[in-house]
Symmetry: C2
Subunit: 379 residues, 2 copies
């Protein structure tokens, strides 16, 4: 018998009550029953994003909303600043390139911190840059970026938007869109929202809506204006992913009931416990400024990080993640966002200890779990 | 107590066993368990589409795949022929327009037949047209278009692709992609596939892949080449809509078990019974050439079609559909695609009779149901 535990940085575990809601007979989307669902979802998404504006909903993976955050605010030949410090930062630059947007890339070695001053310098050198594209968490490296500090700089540039991929950030830690002057905030369903992948979201500031009016890049499926018009009538521009939105109502209720402050605190403690556990085993945390969403841990010398991830999954039932691209084999990752509790962290660290033992790594069994328990006792 | 019956032209009813499969704990997509799902899905999609080529899968509504069928084969300034005979034909032209493609529109009054000769004439006048865009069923009017006859014309033009929106067609009636020389065949999850909305599909011919090599319209989220590369490794380019794909495995198994020939026969009889039932009540079928997917019925003189649809839903538990845009109030629609059986047709016609009685329409109660039963007895 093997019980499975999902601690990947997306998809994350889905609460059984959400799964069951989505298993109910489907309702038609042009119908008051579904309009009531959307109405409630709209309100709770505003709470989650910390915005007074509508949060747009797309039937797509997170990348779809990222693409929309380029095509709905820029025009051909525009210039944009992209922070590239991992797989998802590179995605911003690749989307821009696909649509003929000139990119000024701030390249940071994977895992290193982003210095807000680099943004200031880039903006001074390229005052014509129409947007800064970055991540709340660079999921591939586990780094948390200083979004407030960057936003505080960008807000002084009236011709530049601050666009944040918050796919691994919204609902994980403080990221209030309006208070922090984030012009476009992107999220996805399969992370803190505790849903299957298939929905993406865009919170859009008044400033970004102004940019939208002048934007000439082509768009059809991901057209913000049409979505907004429909959303105000509790509809979507095209057939929505009905079952996922029905699940979303449920998961947003759970989020509201726990309260964002409590969620941020819970996830912060879970991540700290994961880091302390790993460190107690003599392992190194990969990033200097780790995100509480996902802990990237360096594989010890002589051991392949992919092996750790695979044995944890195959033999010990815990699905974390390996490293991506240049980090493949060098790190493995354990996530603590969404529907994760203290026992999940202990389970993951136990599986890690079993795995490291199998791989011949020298350490005192139980030390990781003990260190974590000491952090978790306050939760 | 009100039991609900869904006979809308999308979403359609989802079999309980599919709903329950999707309610199982989610699996990670970069994982052999999910790769096995995709491998099976790939094979069965080829069977469903009647093609030897890969069928691409997107996390989006059907419109996303339609957009991809423009952006992946055309270049800026290209010319395309669009058949406009309803809401969805107009969508093809709108997508082309959004991407700077010049359209030659063949405008047919809503509900009328498409004469394949009009395609031949348009192609002779515009031999530089790179594609013909049309529908298998124009869902808004219930018309079935003569796809084979059109394809037989387009296949003689080596520089023109035959692109079919088969969202309300694939899995409903004969539409074999390879045998009929359909270059791009689009489908969606919430119709014959008996799933929630949120997945779209593109079958792509060798000829269309050749066009793809030269296509210069911008694309990122809906990039065919990247999807194909990933699909061959049982992966998707971006995080897939995992739960829907798990459901898809199940619904494709059901489709294969019943067999496409039997499905086509079943749906044809269900639609015929619906039409005979409506006619026995003195009602007129809106299109001359009705699709078996959905029956568009004219509201009798002096009665609002929207009222019929609303009372059927609110008071009698049967969700059909009203008319869209210019047909609002003039028609109502009852669908018979996907997970529909003979008792669903009888239920829908009973609800229609109750509703018409409420609205003061004069007819002999039971005549519609009786006429349908006589058609259905062979099923």
């Amino acid at each position: 018998m093997i019980k499975r535990y999902l601690l990947a940085p997306g998809p994350t575990e889905i609460p059984p009550e959400v799964l069951l809601k989505m298993a109910e007979p489907i309702v038609h989307h042009r119908n008051p029953l579904f309009e009531a669902v959307l109405q409630e979802v709209r309100e709770n998404l505003k709470y989650l994003f910390g915005t007074k504006n509508e949060v747009l909903i797309f039937a797509s993976s997170g990348t779809g909303a990222m693409e929309s955050a380029v095509t709905n605010v820029l025009s051909p030949g525009d210039k944009a600043i992209c922070v590239r410090s991992g797989k998802f930062g590179e995605r911003w630059a690749n989307i821009c390139k696909a649509y003929g947007v000139e990119t000024v890339n701030i390249d940071i070695p994977w895992g290193e911190d982003l210095d807000p001053e680099d943004i200031e310098k880039a903006l001074k050198k390229h005052p014509d840059a129409k947007a800064v594209y970055t991540q709340a968490t660079e999921t591939s490296t586990g780094v948390k970026f200083p979004i407030k500090e960057i936003s505080d700089i960008v807000k002084n540039y009236p011709n530049t938007l601050m666009v944040v991929d918050g796919i691994t950030g919204v609902g994980v830690f403080e990221l209030p869109q309006d208070a922090w002057n984030i012009d476009v905030l992107v999220a996805g369903s399969q992370k803190a929202l505790m849903l299957p992948p298939g929905l993406s979201f865009c919170g859009v500031s008044d400033k970004a809506w102004e940019f939208n009016k002048k934007s000439r890049l082509p768009k059809f499926y991901f057209n913000w204006q049409k979505e907004l018009e429909n959303l105000k009538k509790n509809q979507t521009n095209f057939t929505p992913a009905i079952s996922l939105i029905v699940g979303l109502r449920e998961s947003l209720r759970m989020i509201k009931q726990e309260g964002l402050e409590n969620i941020y605190k819970r996830i912060d403690i879970l991540a700290r416990a994961t880091r302390e556990g790993a460190k107690a085993l003599g392992l190194k945390i990969f990033p200097k400024t780790p995100s509480p969403a996902v802990t990237a841990i360096c594989a010890p010398d002589g051991i392949d990080g992919q092996e750790i991830y695979k044995i944890m999954w195959r033999k010990y039932g815990v699905t974390g993640a390996g490293g991506q691209d240049q980090l493949k084999g060098k790190i493995f990752r354990i996530a603590t966002l969404g529907y994760a509790d203290k026992y999940d962290v202990i389970t993951a660290l136990s599986a890690l200890e079993f795995t490291l033992k199998d791989l011949g790594y020298k350490f005192e069994m139980g030390k990781g779990v003990s260190a974590a328990i000491n952090v978790l006792k306050d939760l």
